[in-house]
């Protein structure tokens, strides 16, 4: 279990990194936390000719909140979210979710942007980005572009990023204090990949749901935003009946994948249970 031979480059700044990416394109991989990439290399499932280590790029190590967005730089580690990074529902949600990402040592190294770039279907951050309509800022020597979450994830381990691009920043919309959030994940062991999970966020006024966000992850080739169900929630009274109805709908509207740990039928049950529990929390 030793990686195939590769060259290792360690640029000192973003400009240099982008220049290297422009030169090497498909031959190279970006190394940030390495918590998915390095094991894949050791299994020889990934065999990049060149590794570009961005850990010296201090300019990408930041978390900033402006008026309406939380901006997460590419070197922000999972562990940064152990405590709420912003006041209000968003910080609460991120702090809740991060505890489900692998194990403590892994969270010290792995990065938020690395998870999104890797695009594992069972990634918690990919689910959060999908649910909350994150914006991805991709940079290359050619310039910068902003990609909507709905356009970013193309499937298992594939994204809209071009070979010369780096996911430099993620922007999550801040949530006003009247939002409530919920998250539920089922996995076999603490820290395992989710067999099913859901994020819900709602804004309720006088007992009536005014806005809703709902998505599930770990059940298909990418996180799935349940836009139709979000629309169904809006205008309804917050009640056990609506939670149950939405959970049943979610169960029926997704064709989940199957593997040795969860058949499609069992995953449907987990979709229902996850949606029900995330929504219950968000409407509590």
């Amino acid at each position: 279990m030793k990686a195939a031979a590769f060259d290792y480059l360690r640029p000192a700044g973003l400009g240099e990194a982008l220049a290297l990416l422009a030169t090497h394109k498909d031959d190279c991989k970006i190394l940030a936390g390495g918590q998915s990439l390095v094991p894949a290399m050791n299994f020889r499932l990934a065999r990049p000719a060149i590794l570009i280590d961005i850990n010296d790029l201090d300019e990408l190590d930041y978390l900033r909140a402006d008026a309406d967005q939380l901006k997460i730089g590419a070197l922000t580690r999972h562990a940064a979210f152990h405590r709420p990074v912003v006041e209000g529902p968003l910080g609460t949600l991120l702090a809740k979710v991060v505890r489900h990402i692998a194990h403590y040592p892994i969270r010290q190294r792995g990065t938020f942007a690395g998870s999104l770039s890797h695009a594992d279907p069972a990634s918690e951050w990919c689910l959060v980005a999908t649910t909350l309509r994150a914006e991805m800022v991709a940079k290359s020597a050619r310039g910068e572009r902003v990609i909507a979450a709905s356009d970013f994830f193309h499937g298992t381990f594939t994204t809209a990023l071009e070979p010369d691009e780096i996911l430099a920043e993620i922007r999550l919309p801040l949530m006003t204090p009247d939002w409530r959030v919920g998250f539920y994940e089922f996995s076999r062991r603490a820290g395992d990949f989710a067999l099913g999970m859901a994020v819900a966020a709602t804004r309720v006024e006088d007992g009536t749901i005014r806005e809703a966000r709902l998505a599930v992850g770990g059940v298909a080739d990418r996180a799935i935003r349940l836009g139709l169900l979000e629309d169904q929630l809006v205008g309804k009274p917050a009640s056990l009946a609506i939670i149950d109805a939405i959970a049943r709908e979610a169960r029926g509207m997704i064709e989940p994948n199957g593997d040795i740990h969860a058949s499609p039928e069992y995953r449907r049950d987990l979709i229902a249970a996850s949606v029900k529990r995330a929504l219950t929390e968000a409407l509590a």
């Binding site: 031979a5 062991r189 040795i260 969860a262 069992y266 449907r268 229902a272």
Partner: protein
């Protein structure tokens, strides 16, 4: 001061905790790296193996003179199968080593291994019981007439009658899926060639160093004296590291061929693919019960998937014959009919794993007791009360003799501690809130510390069982114990030191124990089968006892009294009822330097002893408390109680550690771990992302209580305790799940009880909330 019975911190731990441990990989840095090219398919004919030019690669054709590994059982129902060290013509399981690469480092060796092209004419693999036992099945091995390689059968005279008379017949089909022992340290070996002597030293992560030396010497047709085997610190074995594996033979062959040092450090993928598996068993049971719940007779058809080869030295009989002999467990009934088969398939070889068959057979019997209790309207504890062995010695239907135990008492103590009335109240209150709690009982016997008679009875060609211990005290009064047993992480050195301390009256830190080096220890059988404390412990006690006798004679001579008046304690030899005393060190010095003064005594303090016992039965009761989330079918073990009777505890802390670790593996067996092959024999669980040993987060604190039945069958008064935790836990956990789900009428008979399987059972029972 007495040392036996104290929770003495392990003498091994300071080095291990401070990075001073020394495992095979720690010693292998200077050796050339070895990588094995493994078969990507389960079955086929080797057409060609293409080797990259100017690489050091060997195949079976280079090792034609090496004999196959071919363990023997002298039984008419056993078919001996040879396992080629590297095959020439035939591939028998996915992961089988086909060629070996030697390179300067491990990454380069893997690079070359990737370039070895193996052309195999693939055939349909036989993976499971259904295909292996089909009437028209092709034999996995052409030299065998069928896929049954070993079979035990018996039937008592009165079996048919008790079934005819039974008030209730309980029939069940139990399935235990395949597991790996998954030791924290994988296998590994370093073979060093000594140009001066021509000898090879093999340092390997193994449990039976002497057996390995014999096995390799036989296979390579070399004198045993040309081979030294060292087992350094071993990071867990649990049975997996008992067997003679082809990789070790190849390493020694390479060292002799290339006249250089070579090392193979196994990775996790290889370990899951190609070391050894176990517990792939299908048991069909029928129990004949009287109206009052007494079990009158048992009929069983037991199948064990033994994989592609027979493990050396214990053979593929180890699971089927253990199941055959020990299925009756802790229950007192006379009529028994059994057919137990070892079935070969194109899968990784079965080898012993902590408990060997007893986790599955205990699961079977304990599930049967619960089902019978429900059918007959008897409480789960009560049906066990009526059936447990109460008189000793007890003779089982298969002729095993059980020494003194506390089967019933241990269960009563556990039930008291469990406070079942309070639990039932809570269970029923929470059910109204949609929460499902359950409790499950498991009672079992653990045959431990058995010597040659037990192995001879199985018909083994190589009969293990005894232990030899050399004990010497040097002139300063410090002791060296050389043991044939070989610890693999269980703190054996500490326990033995405590035992010998009490014998000699000196402190444990003055006792050094040398193990795991065939050049420095007497021939022995290593560590397995819950034997080390009972057998190596007794031999240590007996050898040390001989030195104690000698010390007392010397003390009596020097202090002019009778040796009956001498007591050895706290480093001193004291004359009773007087102030006279001498330091034990002074006696030791006299034994070596003033030996002329002691008439009738040989000079020095050097003794040995051999112990070869019949065996002693430990027993225990486990009670598990679980909560099942019926929507996700996730199971949480809330509480786990163990009442264990392993006789006198030499070091209760180490015993509790053994039980805790065993229960953790038992919970893994019950809920998590499963080796899965696809229909073609390709392994789907080749990493810890898919093969799921639980983490600390999934295992509750294990509450342990002890009984202490002293048996005349053990010199140390200790019984074995290495396997019990793993034996009892699966039954307790699954019984608890079934109790939790009793409102749905769910009975589970499959291990592990994964969320997916539980959810499927709920769906079938109409307990699905989202149908």
């Amino acid at each position: 001061m007495n040392w036996i019975g104290r929770r003495l911190p392990r003498l091994e731990d300071p080095a291990l905790l401070k990075g001073g441990g020394s495992y095979v990989a720690d010693r292998a840095a200077k050796a050339a790296a070895v990588s094995f090219v493994r078969s990507p398919v389960a079955r086929g004919t080797i057409v060609d193996i293409e080797i990259p030019s100017d690489a050091t690669v060997f195949t079976g054709r280079d090792l034609v003179d090496v004999k196959p590994i071919r363990p023997i059982l002298h039984r008419p129902d056993y078919v001996a199968i040879g396992q080629p060290v590297l095959p020439i013509d035939r591939v028998s399981f996915c992961g089988q080593a086909l060629a070996v690469v030697v390179a300067d480092d491990a990454a380069l060796a893997e690079d070359i291994a990737e370039q070895v092209f193996v052309d195999i004419d693939v055939a349909d693999a036989i993976i499971n019981f259904e295909t292996a036992l089909a009437p028209d099945a092709t034999p996995v091995h052409p030299e065998a007439a069928s896929n049954v390689l070993v079979e035990g059968r018996m039937k008592t005279q009165g079996l048919d009658k008790v079934f005819a008379d039974a008030a209730e017949i309980v029939a069940l089909d139990v399935r235990s899926h395949r597991q790996s022992a998954a030791p924290m340290e994988n296998r590994g070996g370093l073979a060093e060639y000594d140009a001066g002597s021509g000898r090879v030293t093999l340092t390997a992560s193994v449990q039976m160093p002497h057996m390995l030396r014999t096995g390799i010497a036989d296979t390579l047709d070399m004198p045993e004296s040309d081979l030294r085997v060292i087992a350094p610190d071993v990071g867990g074995g649990f049975g997996q590291k008992m067997s003679l594996f082809p990789e070790y033979v190849v390493l020694v062959w390479l060292a002799r061929k290339l006249k250089r040092s070579v090392a193979w450090i196994e990775d996790r993928r290889e370990n899951l693919l190609a070391s050894a598996h176990s517990r792939d068993q299908a048991f069909s049971l029928r129990g004949a019960f009287a109206k009052d719940g007494r079990l009158l007779g048992l009929e069983a058809d037991l199948r064990s998937n033994i994989g592609a080869f027979s493990c050396y030295p214990v053979t593929c009989g180890v699971e089927p014959l253990m199941a055959f002999a020990e299925l009756p467990g802790p229950y007192d009934f006379a009529e028994y009919g059994v057919r137990s088969r070892g079935v070969t398939t194109n899968t990784c070889m079965m080898a012993p794993y902590r408990g060997v068959s007893r986790p599955t057979l205990t699961f079977s019997m304990e599930r049967m007791m619960d089902v019978a209790a429900k059918r007959l309207g008897i409480d789960a504890a009560e049906i066990r009360r009526r059936n447990l062995i109460k008189a000793f010695p007890h003779r089982s239907p298969t002729g095993l003799v059980y020494d003194e135990g506390s089967y019933l008492q241990a269960m009563e103590v556990a039930i008291d501690a469990a406070d079942l009335p309070a639990f039932r109240a809570r269970q029923s209150a929470l059910r109204t809130l949609g929460r499902y709690l359950g409790v499950g009982i498991s009672v079992f016997s653990e045959r431990t510390g058995y010597g040659t008679p037990a192995y001879a009875a199985r018909g083994m060609d190589i009969v293990p069982g005894y232990e030899i211990v050399d004990c010497s005290m040097d002139p300063s009064g410090d002791v060296v114990l050389r043991i044939g047993s070989s610890p693999h992480g269980q703190g054996l050195k500490t326990s033995l030191a405590q035992l010998v301390s009490d014998e000699l009256g000196i402190e444990p830190h003055r006792i050094r124990i040398i193990s795991g080096d065939t050049d420095a220890t007497p021939y022995g059988w290593g560590t397995f089968a819950s034997r080390s404390m009972v057998i190596a412990g007794a031999a240590s006690k007996l050898a040390a006892g001989k030195i104690a006798v000698k010390l007392k004679t010397i003390a009596a001579t020097l202090m002019e009294t009778s040796s009956d008046n001498i007591e050895l304690k706290d480093g001193w030899a004291r004359v009773s009822h007087s102030n006279q005393a001498m330091e034990i060190g002074a006696l030791a010095r006299a034994a070596y330097h003033q030996s002329h003064r002691f008439e009738g005594l040989l000079p020095g303090l050097h003794e040995n002893a051999v112990y070869d016992p019949g065996g002693t039965f430990s027993n225990a009761c486990h009670i598990a408390f679980v909560e099942v989330d019926i929507e996700t079918a996730g199971v949480r073990v809330d509480r786990f109680l163990v009442v264990e009777d392993a006789g006198v505890l030499i070091n209760p802390m180490i015993v509790d550690g053994q039980i805790t670790g065993g229960v953790a593996q038992g919970i893994a067996n019950a809920l998590f771990e499963e080796i899965v092959y696809d229909d073609t024999g390709n392994l789907l669980t080749a990493s810890f992302a898919d093969y799921l040993p639980p983490t600390a987060a999934e295992i509750p604190e294990i509450e342990i209580m002890h009984m202490e039945t002293v048996s005349p069958e053990s010199v140390t008064k200790a019984k074995g305790v290495g396997e019990g935790g793993a034996i009892g836990a699966p039954a307790a956990v699954v019984n608890a799940i079934c109790d939790a789900l009793s409102p749905f009428g769910i009975e589970l008979f499959e291990l592990p009880a994964t969320p997916q399987r539980i959810r499927e059972a709920l769906r079938r029972a109409g307990g699905a909330s989202y149908a």
